[in-house]
Symmetry: C2
C-alpha cells in the first residue's frame, strides 16, 4: 500500500499552511484589477469566510470596492461576521436592504447579535428590518440583555432533553427534530421545570446502548452560566475548566440558551488583545481605522504621558543649580530613570497578567511583593556596580559612580514596589489595571529616579 | 410550576461565580493549619482540578506542603496537568514512584506528554518508568516529534471510520468500541489507505437515520494538520476557522492522531501571554519562580535597556556645552524623549499584535505606514503647540518653545516610522517582533528625541 501514493496530498510550505498566502492575495488583486469577475469568483470560492474577511481588511480602498461589488448579491453573512467591526459597518452601509437580508439570512442568531450590537442605532434598525420575524424576535430578545453579558453571547437554539430519558429515546427525538443548533456537542439534561441539571457528551450518547438512561452518562464538568454574567467571566470559566459548551439559565434557573467554545474563544482573544493594547496606551483601534480616528484615539494617552513627563521635569528643575555646576549629571540622569521605568514595567506586566488570570490574589500578594522587591534590590545592586563603573570611567569621578549606583538601587527597588502595588490598588478600586498602571508606574520611577540621582548628587558632590 | 421553587439554586456573587473565592481559600488554609485532614478533603472534593492547581500555586511554602501531604496518595493527575510548570516539577520531585504512577495513570497521553516535556531529563526517565507499557510507548512516540509540533499536541486515540460506512454501522461500532477518546466531537472519515478525507459532527450522526451514508453528512470546515506543523500555526488555524477538532496526518497523509480545541486554546493562551510579557521585557516566568530565578531572567532585558540608555546619554554628552549654557534644556529634554517613546510603543504594539494575527502583511504595510506617520505628524503638531506653550510660560523664552515643539514633531513622526518598520523588519529576518522591537524602538526615539531637541537648541538658541 505504501507504494501506490497516486493521490498525492499538496505539501505546502508549512509556515503558511493556513494563512492567506501572498500569492493568493496577488492573484485576487490582479483579477480584481483586470475586472475578471469569473477568475475572481473562482479564487474566492476556495477561501474560508474568515480568510475573505481578512483579505477585504487588507485590501486598499479601490481594490476593496471592486471585490465587494463582484461579491455583491452573494455576500456570505459569515464574511460580515468575521470582519473587524469598523469595516463591517462601512460594508453594511454599502449594501442595499435585499443584499443585507440575504447575507444575514443564514447566520445563527448569536452571530447576528454580534454584528448588530456594534452598529450605530439607525443601522441597527435597518438590519433588524432585514430579518424575518422569528430571527428578529430572537435578536431583540438577546439585545434586551445587558451589553457584554452571557445573554448576548448565547445561542437560543439548544439540544435539551428530560433527564429521565434513555439514549434510544433521545436519538429518536434528535432524528425527528427540526430546530437543532447548527453545531452542538452535548445533550443538556433538564428537570421538569426546565432547569438544566447536567449534560452528556454526544460521544457518550453514541457509545451507549439504547436502553441506558442519559443521567447515568453525565459529565462532571457541568456548569450553568447565569444569563447576566459578564462575558469576561464566561470566557474565564471556559478556559479554566476546558468547557466546550455550557447551558445558560435565567434568574429563575431556567434554561434559556447555550454558549459554545467558539464564542468564548472570541471573547478570550479580545480580552487578551485589549490588555496588550491598553498596557501600551492604545485603546480599541484596528488596522482599518483612519488616520484621524487613531490620532484622536491615541491623543489622550500621550496627554497623560505628557503630564507625567512634566512632573519629572519639575523634579529636575529643582536641581538646575546642581546641573549647571556639573553637566555630567544631565548626561547620566536619563539612565537612572529609564532603568527604573523598564524594571517597573516588567513587574507591572507580570502583575497585570496575573490579575487577569486570577493567579495574583490576596493570598499570595505579600509573597509576590517580597519577591519583586528582592529582585529589584538584586538587579539594582548588579546595575549599580555596572553604571558606577561607567560613571567612573566616563567622567573620572568615583563619587559620581557611587551616586548613580545608589540611585539605581533605590529606583529599582521602588520599581518593584510600584510595579506590583499600583496594579493591585487599581484592581481594588475597580479600575482595569491594564488601562492605567503604566502611567502611574513610570511617573513613580521617573520622579524617584531623577530625585534620587540629582538629590544624592547635590548632597554628595557639591 | 413557577411557584414551587423548592430546590433553590445557590445565587453567588456573579463576579466570583467561577473563581476560587477568598472565603474558600481561607477555609482551606485554616483547615490545613489546624491539621484537620477530614475538613480539608471535604473542601477540596468540590473543587475542579484546575482550581486546586491554582490554590496550590497561591499558597505559601508551608501551607502548600501541608496540602500536598494531605492529598498524598490520592493526588489527581489532572491537578499536575493544570499546574504551572516550575511548581509541577517541584511537586513531581516530592512524589514517590508509586504516587507518581497513580497520578499519571488516568491522564490521556497528550496530557502526560505535556507534563513530561517540561521536565529535566532525569525526571523524564522517572516519569516514563512510572507509566504502563502501552502509555509509555504512546508518550515516547509523541516525544519523537519535534518540540512545539502538532505531534506533541495531538492525542493518539481517534474515532475514525471508513468513509463509505452508514450512520447505523458507525453507531454499532461506537457501542462496541473499547478504546474511544475521552472526549470527541467528530467522526473522522478515512479512505482505505487511512488518509483522513472528511469528518462528520456527532450531532449530525445523531440526527440522521441509520441508513444514511456518513460521507453525505461531511462538514465544510474539514482541515488536516501535518504532524510536524508548528503548534502556533495549529492554534491559529483553530482560532481562524473555529475548529473544534482536527485530524493530524503524517508525511504520507495517514491519520496519526487528533487535536482538540482545548489543546489549541492552551497554545493560544500561552502565545498571547508570551507576547504580552516579551513586549514588556519579561521572558518565560511565573509567579511561583523564586527571587533568584526572576532576577536572572530579567537581568538581560535590563542590560539591553542600559545599553540603549547609554547610547542616549552619549547623544546628550555631545551637547554638554549647550546644557551648561542653558540648564532649562536639561529640564525639558526628557519630555521629548518620553513622548517619542510612548508614541513609538503605541505604533509598535499595534504592529506586533497585527503581525501575530496575520493582519499586517505586505499587502497593507505601506498603507498602515502612511497612516502611522500621518498620525504621528498630527499628534506631533498638537503636542508641539502644547509643549511650546509650556516651554514659553515656564522659562519665558518663545524660541525655547519653538525648539521643543519642533523636536516633538520630529520625534513623533519618527516614532510612527520606527514603531511600524522595526517589528516588520524583525519579522522579515525571522526574529520574534515581540522579543526585540521594544529596545530598538525606544533607542530610536531616545536618540532622535535628545538629538533633535538639543541640536535645534544649539543652532537656534546659542
Amino acid at each position: 500500500m505504501a507504494g501506490d501514493d497516486v493521490m498525492e496530498r499538496p505539501r505546502e510550505d508549512e509556515d503558511e499552511a493556513y494563512a492567506l498566502t501572498p500569492e493568493t492575495m496577488d492573484g485576487i488583486v490582479e483579477a480584481a484589477e483586470a475586472g475578471d469577475d469569473a477568475a475572481l469568483r473562482k479564487l474566492l470560492d476556495v477561501l474560508h469566510p474568515a480568510d475573505i474577511a481578512d483579505l477585504i481588511e487588507q485590501l486598499g480602498g479601490e481594490d476593496r470596492q471592486r471585490l465587494l461589488s463582484v461579491m455583491g448579491d452573494g455576500l456570505d453573512g459569515e464574511i460580515l461576521s468575521e470582519m473587524e467591526e469598523g469595516l463591517r459597518e462601512e460594508v453594511i452601509g454599502s449594501l442595499d436592504p435585499g443584499q443585507l437580508e440575504a447575507a444575514l439570512g443564514d447566520l445563527e442568531s448569536d452571530d447576528v447579535v454580534e454584528i448588530i450590537e456594534d452598529l450605530e442605532p439607525e443601522r441597527q434598525a435597518e438590519v433588524l428590518e432585514a430579518l424575518d420575524a422569528e430571527d428578529r424576535a430572537a435578536v431583540e430578545a438577546a439585545l434586551s440583555y445587558p451589553e457584554d453579558s452571557a445573554g448576548r453571547l448565547m445561542q437560543r437554539e439548544v439540544a435539551a432533553v428530560p433527564e429521565h430519558w434513555t439514549v434510544g429515546r433521545a436519538i429518536d427525538w434528535l432524528r425527528k427534530s427540526e430546530n437543532l443548533p447548527e453545531q452542538f456537542y452535548h445533550l443538556i439534561l433538564t428537570d421538569p421545570r426546565m432547569h438544566p441539571v447536567g449534560y452528556v457528551t454526544l460521544g457518550r450518547v453514541l457509545g451507549a446502548r439504547r436502553d441506558v438512561r442519559l443521567d447515568t452518562l453525565r459529565e462532571d464538568s457541568f456548569r450553568v452560566i447565569p444569563v447576566t454574567q459578564d462575558v469576561e467571566d464566561v470566557a474565564y470559566a471556559f478556559n479554566q475548566y476546558h468547557l466546550i459548551s455550557a447551558p445558560v439559565a435565567d434568574g429563575d434557573g431556567r434554561l434559556v440558551g447555550v454558549i459554545t467554545i467558539d464564542d468564548a474563544i472570541r471573547v478570550l482573544d479580545e480580552e487578551n488583545e485589549e490588555d496588550l493594547l491598553l498596557l501600551a496606551g492604545v485603546g480599541d483601534e484596528s488596522l482599518n481605522d483612519r488616520t484621524w480616528a487613531i490620532t484622536r484615539q491615541r491623543f489622550p494617552w500621550l496627554a497623560v504621558n505628557l503630564v507625567t513627563a512634566i512632573l519629572a521635569s519639575a523634579v529636575i528643575a529643582q536641581f538646575e543649580g546642581v546641573i549647571a555646576a556639573l553637566t555630567a549629571l544631565a548626561v547620566l540622569m536619563p539612565i537612572v530613570a529609564s532603568m527604573g521605568g523598564n524594571a517597573g514595567t516588567q513587574s507591572m506586566t507580570v502583575a497585570v497578567r496575573a490579575i487577569a488570570t486570577k493567579d495574583l490574589t490576596g493570598a499570595n500578594a505579600w509573597r509576590v511583593l517580597r519577591r519583586e522587591v528582592a529582585a529589584g534590590l538584586l538587579n539594582g545592586l548588579a546595575f549599580a556596580v555596572i553604571v558606577g563603573i561607567v560613571g567612573l570611567l566616563w567622567f573620572g569621578s568615583p563619587m559620581l559612580g557611587v551616586v548613580i549606583g545608589a540611585a539605581m538601587i533605590i529606583n529599582l527597588v521602588v520599581a518593584g514596589f510600584a510595579g506590583l502595588l499600583i496594579p493591585l490598588a487599581l484592581e481594588k478600586v475597580g479600575i482595569d489595571p491594564a488601562l492605567a498602571s503604566g502611567a502611574f508606574v513610570t511617573t513613580v520611577t521617573d520622579v524617584v529616579g531623577f530625585f534620587a540621582f540629582l538629590g544624592l548628587a547635590a548632597v554628595v558632590l557639591l
